[in-house]
Each structure stands twice: as C-alpha cells, then as structure tokens.
Amino acid sequence: MSNFFNTLFKSKYELTTEQLIKRKTMFSFFVFFIMIVLGIIFWITLKKQPRDQAGVQAPLRSVLNGNEKVFSKIESYRHLAKTYPKSMAAKKVRVNGNVGLKSDLDTAAWRLHVIKTSGDTLFITLNEIKKLPKTEIIFDFKCIEGWSQVSHWGGVKFSDFAHYFHLEKEVTLKYIGLSTPDEAYYVGIDMPSAMHPQTLVCYEMNGKPLPVNQGFPLRMIVPVKYGIKSLKRIGTMYFNNTRPKDYWFERGYDYYSGL
C-alpha cells in the first residue's frame, strides 16, 4: 500500500513528509467517507426492496430460505428434542394465543378432516385416534417469543397416525397443511418435521384431556419447531408439494421456524 502511495504521489516531484502525511490522510478519509455513503445506500436500498406477501424484503427472505436449506440438511431423525422426567413438567401450562379457538365448537360433531390426494376426505373421530398406540413426551416447549416451558403431552405419533390411516402416498409429499375448524389459524409443516418421531397428534396434557385453551379435542405437538407450528384444535389436515398457507409466515415470520 505504501509503495502505491509513493508511486502515486512521488512520481512527478518530491513531497515533504508533511505533504505526504496530508495527502495520504486526505485520500484515506475520502475512501472512508465513500464507504460510509455506500453503506448507507446499501441499507436504504435493502429496506426498500420489494417485499413478499409477509412484508419481508425479498433478499432477506432468500437468505432465510437458504438458512432452511442449510439447517434442514443437518436435520435428522436422530436429533431428538431433549426429554425430561414427568416430575419436571409444569402443572400450570402457559397459554399463548387463541387464534382459531374463538368460535364455539360442537365437540360431539367434531371430526378430524383428512383430505387425501385422491380427493377423498376421511372423517376421523377422537375415539378412533385414541385407539392407536399412545406416545407421551415431556419436553421443553419453545415459543418463538423466547420463553420455554417443560410440559407433558400425550397422543399418537404423526408417523403412526399416517400409517394407520393409510396416508403412505400423502406423506411422500413435501408439506402437511393444518387449519382450525373456523380456518382462522393455519400452518404448514415440512414433511420431515411432521414425520419426526417426536411429532404428535396430541389429545392429552398432563395425563388429562386437553383443556379448551390448549386445543381440545386435538392439537399438534411439534417439538422440532417453535410453538407457532403446534396448531391447536385441528379441523382439517391436507398435503401438498408447495408450502401450505401459514398464519405467522403471512405476518413476517420464517416459514421453516425449525429448532
């Protein structure tokens, strides 16, 4: 660098040290100033980039989708959420969010609607689901807000559920979509996360039927995702190769939201 300056500034005539200091300083601060201006322009341009339907700037979204690619590569069925003894499970389980639970539910008439790829819809009762092998999990439920709580859930592994209701063809698709009966809340979950051995179609909390504010009669428990994906009060389940619509994704959050 200093040779560059010497040739730049000394080629035509000799400079005194004072002059050299002055010129090198001027040059460096000029470059420094340009860099600051470029930085500010970069920031303003980034903020002004066209946004997707969720309000996230397109370049940010492409990096977030890239993050999903990077981190879903290391995702594996071998990586399980840490489990805890029953004694550590919270008795008072935190309730966060009631979108999709505000309408009244006729519990006697409730059926889980499973829309198959053939176009047929299965109508499944809670008792049919309770007859399947039961799996319990006590894990640290993590909310996207930043809090977490060890809690105890019981139900059927989604992979078992898919097996017993002959959804072999459906689970080869890339995504599962879920929505509440009133369709006010809805999520999409990538199939590897849905088929993860700890993902439950859940009907019990602390050994008792789910309370209404925890999604009675049936909810998802997806330990490899933030709580936003563990939809309460499942109404409809469907399958797709493209991303099903997702309530929080539409509000600017990451689609994958994997842990």
């Binding site: 040290t17 460096s28 601060f29 807000e145 994997g258």
Partner: protein, 222 residues
C-alpha cells in the same frame, strides 16, 4: 523530524469498520427479538437496579411488536457477523498480527499499570509495542466474546439439531441469558473504547482509517 510508520494493515481496518454497522444491526435486531420475552434484570432480592428494558427505552427506539422483522434481519446478518469475525481471526493468525494482539504473561501486570496511568494514579505509562497489556486483553477478550455470541446464538437458534451445543452451554435458557449478557458486554466495550479513542487523540484515530502513525522521533524510523 516526522516519520510515517505503518501501523494497521488494510485488512484489519476493513474488518474493524465493517464490523461496526454489522454489530449495530445485530444488536438492533436482537432488541426487536428480546422485547417479546424481556425477562432480564439486575438486582438483589426484590430490589431491581436495572430493568432490561424500561418501556420508555423501547418506545424511544421503536422496538415493540417487531419480533418477526427482528428475526428476519438477525438470521440474515448473522452470516455477515460470523464471516467478518472468521476472516479477521484467520488474518491475524496468518499474518502473525496475533503476536501483537494476544496477551502474554506480562500483559496482566502491564494492564494494571495502564489502568493506574489512565486513572492518573501513576505518571508513567508502561512501555509498549503496538498495543499495551490492557489493549491486548480487551481486544482478545472481544474476539472470545464474539465467538461466545456465535456459539450461544447457534445453541438457541437450533436447540434440537445442535442439542449437544445447547447442553454444553448450560441449556436453552442459560444460553439465551449468556447471549444477552455478551451483548451488554459489547455496549460497555463500545463506551470505554470510544472514551479511550477520544482520550488518545487524533493521530491514533487517524491510524485506524489511514493505517499509518506519525512518529516524531528518529529512532523509530524503519
């Protein structure tokens, strides 16, 4: 007689100044995230000394209800923070600059003498090369803190996939607390750093932009 002496390589100046906006964006977006579960405070028993953070603080900085936006920026600029830090470490290692930065067994004693001098208790500052003992400790510590932020950040970003890392760092909630405390550390570092730069004067500040120092003695000529 004045002499120009090269002080900071271009790469180090570049990493230093690039890091400044990146870490600003990381702290800002981190605040947007932290707001959604702002549980930390400093105090004894029932007495709260510092609340992280008061409502007025959030409102002044327009923090509330921007969690999604915060996560989007945080998980994009994390790459810039990581890469810039990694390149800086690699540069200091391969250029040999680490020898000037890494504390040795005398640095701690020297740092104490520097502090005494800065507090105007001692008249004479201890002799130094490029950095004094206190600087060596501070500039090495800040890199370790950066590494700490990356590791605790990964632990709370992917606590299932990287469950071994999360466990190693004391679990999900502990790692989050460390991640936050390190950020407070950066802010404290920044305050002291700015104070020291102002106190040391123009010649020193200029060297972080131009790369050279102006020395008045002939014996330092090279």
């Amino acid at each position: 007689m004045k002499h120009i002496v090269n002080k900071h390589p271009l790469a180090i100046r570049w990493f230093h100044w690039i890091n400044f906006p990146i870490i600003t964006i990381m702290i800002w977006s981190g605040l947007l995230i932290y707001w959604a579960n702002d549980v930390y405070k400093l105090g004894f028993g029932d007495l709260t000394l510092i609340q992280f953070f008061p409502k007025s603080f959030y409102e002044a900085l327009n923090i509330p209800y921007r969690l999604g936006e915060g996560m989007a920026f945080h998980f994009v600029f994390m790459w810039a923070f990581f890469l810039n830090g990694l390149l800086y470490i690699l540069f200091t290692l391969f250029s040999g600059e680490w020898r000037l930065l890494f504390p040795d067994k005398n640095s701690f004693k020297e740092a104490w003498l520097v502090i005494l001098h800065d507090l105007k208790i001692n008249k004479e500052a201890p002799p130094q090369l490029k950095y004094n003992g206190a600087q060596k400790i501070a500039y090495t510590m800040i890199i370790l803190m950066g590494l700490g932020s990356v590791l605790t950040g990964l632990a709370i970003y992917k606590p299932v996939q990287l469950n071994w890392l999360c466990a190693l760092l004391g679990g999900y909630e502990f790692a989050r607390a460390i991640h936050f405390a390190l950020t407070v550390g950066y802010c404290l570092f920044f305050v002291i750093h700015i104070f020291q730069v102002i106190k040391t004067g123009w010649n020193n500040f200029r060297s972080m932009v131009t790369g050279f120092d102006v020395i008045n003695e002939t014996k330092h000529d090279e």
